[in-house]
Symmetry: C2
Subunit: 381 residues, 2 copies
């Protein structure tokens, strides 16, 4: 068996694209989209763009041109059936079910470990299940460049060229251009930086040296695991133990025994930041639009073609009646909804819970969820 | 058989209170309270005050001290079962069912005709089923004075002493004091006037000569019918024909034959205004508070003790969560409703329709109903 203590294999003569395997972490409830998104029906299981596809299905479709059916999904136990309905192509062996959330270090690390033991030359790419990206071709071009760059022994993040001084994203400080065949955009990464103040964000934007960190990366699984082992040896050992049992009859028993004991840490701290410090991280700055659908204002942005007067509707447009109103209606019921003389309103109508807020306050929805939790009304969360 | 062409009987020596029979017209959808109030569940079948009683039940209870079970209800065919559930005391003989709405002239006129043929000395009092009145004792005192005044041969309206220059009500111009034993407040009525402009309303208020017309009146049925016959002979003849069949096995057949042919006219035009011109109308100015629950702002006024923060809730308070919000929530579902950072909002939540508007715009709800009708969505109207 190949282990990490063996010498790193020489870069294969094969096209790196053939070694690509996409990993889709599908976690996170999307609390700021309550009551549409909730524990039992998280964000990635909804069609938030009116495209006819759920976000996870759209993520899969976006990757398929590069990965074919080489796709692994990591999600909660509770979402098994829903994910399988969305992705009927997905093999059981490529569906990692978490019995409890353990943060991205464990989720992505386990995928890396399983893929490593199947083929140590695998290049993984991690893409969250709940992002909206367009145009798809620009995204795919960037991922292709990232795969070529990863094949040179880098963890390659895909940076989004900033269009404004956002304080809502982390940034990537970009270094020198790298000379990678097939990846003309590849640059070194100097470091990752946290969400900045407005003033700092303005400086970042003006300098041209920073890209938004969209949390997407492509990397040799071997390199991922090497950094994970160095930084989080307990997590690494546990994940490798599960991975060794994965493609055997012991998969479930071992996973159930080990998973609850794993430390919780984000992949950023466990791998990406230390790897950047070690000079092992590259970036492909890319020019596609990217939205993590963080709140209902985002839903309005992404659905602005579906307006009834000045009201953006996600759901059954024909049952929405408006008079002198503006805002957003999200409905997954068959109810008639009438808005009369109300501006910038956000109405989210579900069978067991109704939210009414404003566009301006839609970031505060998390408060409602916390409040309902405190009142013990967890049935609708 | 007594007929109107017989000489008017002399006032009986009995106490006029013994001749009193209350009539409750229960019509009108209450469109401005949609979607709570609607064709299948009109305003009077709701508890809009949080008292635990529907408006029609509260109307019955308010009258019972004076009328006992001498109460007649006029309502639509469709509301038969609901009204009987609300008023189990009601005799079938005292429930007038309209196969189609024919306005108040026919509804109140038929009640007068039936009561007249049972006992021509009856004094009827007509009180709409969807009003909120308090204190009840002050109301009852006014009705009692009205009965004594009616016994002297007057149609007696109960006027509400105005508290502000409302442009939403009709007014009654009050004349000289009448000398009626047991009715010290009785005054002659000079005339009824339509809803005034703001300027005119200010003059009315300043003069002290005007009272709001609440549409409540008490009158000898014989006098009612005499004016009806003079002003609307076709309507009068039709109503008398139904009334003659009422307490016989032919009731339904005759009603079904005649009712659809009756002219539509408000009792104000058919009786009250011509009677006032003839000097036959008196008024008891009264000091109770009176609300016809015309819109959701009224519901907030009437339920201001039931607040969650600054949000008035009519319905299940425990399922409403608010954060930095104000306004009104009316719910007859079990859904959780969360309001976040939204001011002066009106949310009306029913199983098949949802209204979101503002307190300021709640008078415009009729527009939504008209709009939905135009869209063919009559299932929720």
């Amino acid at each position: 068996m190949t282990t990490l203590n063996s010498p790193v294999p020489a870069a294969p003569a094969t096209d790196p694209l053939e070694k690509f395997f996409a990993v889709i972490p599908a976690g996170g409830v999307g609390t700021r989209l309550w009551p549409l998104s909730r524990a039992a029906a998280p964000k990635f299981l909804h069609d938030l763009t009116g495209s006819g596809s759920t976000l996870i299905r759209a993520t899969y479709d976006r990757l398929e041109a590069l990965s074919g059916n080489n796709v692994m999904v990591v999600t909660g136990d509770a979402h098994r059936d829903a994910v399988c309905r969305q992705l009927p192509e997905l093999s059981d062996d490529d569906l990692v079910l978490e019995s409890e959330p353990k943060d991205s270090g464990a989720a992505i690390g386990l995928a890396a470990a399983i893929l490593y033991l199947r083929d140590p030359a695998t290049i993984m790419g991690s893409f969250a299940a709940d992002q909206v990206i367009s145009p798809v071709e620009t995204f795919q071009d960037a991922v292709r460049e990232a795969i070529y760059t990863a094949a040179t022994g880098k963890i390659v993040t895909i940076g989004i060229k900033p269009t404004h001084a956002s304080t809502g994203f982390g940034y990537i400080r970009t270094g020198a251009s790298l000379d990678v065949p097939g990846a003309p955009s590849a640059h070194a990464v100097v470091k990752f930086v946290e969400k900045p103040s407005e003033e700092v964000a303005e400086q970042y934007l003006a300098s041209g040296d920073y890209n938004w960190n969209a949390g997407m990366f492509v990397a040799p699984v071997e390199l991922m695991l090497r950094h994970l082992k160095a930084n989080e040896p307990v997590l690494y050992d546990g994940l490798m133990e599960i991975a060794r049992a994965w493609d055997t009859p012991d998969r479930v028993a071992v996973k159930n025994r080990i998973w609850p004991t794993l430390p919780k840490i984000a992949i950023d701290y466990a791998v990406a930041e230390p790897a950047a410090d070690a000079g092992d991280v590259a970036v492909i700055p890319a020019n596609f639009s990217w939205d993590d659908v963080g709140d209902f204002a985002a839903i309005a942005r992404l659905n602005n073609a579906r307006e009834v007067d000045a009201v953006t509707v996600l759901g059954e447009v024909g049952r929405v009646f408006t008079e002198d109103s503006s805002g957003i209606v999200v409905t997954d019921t068959k109810r008639v909804i009438a808005l009369i003389g109300i501006q910038d309103v956000v109405v989210v109508d579900t069978p067991d819970a109704l939210l009414v807020t404003t566009r301006e306050h839609s970031q505060l929805v998390k408060k409602a969820v916390d409040g309902l939790k405190a009142k013990g009304q967890t049935d609708v969360l």
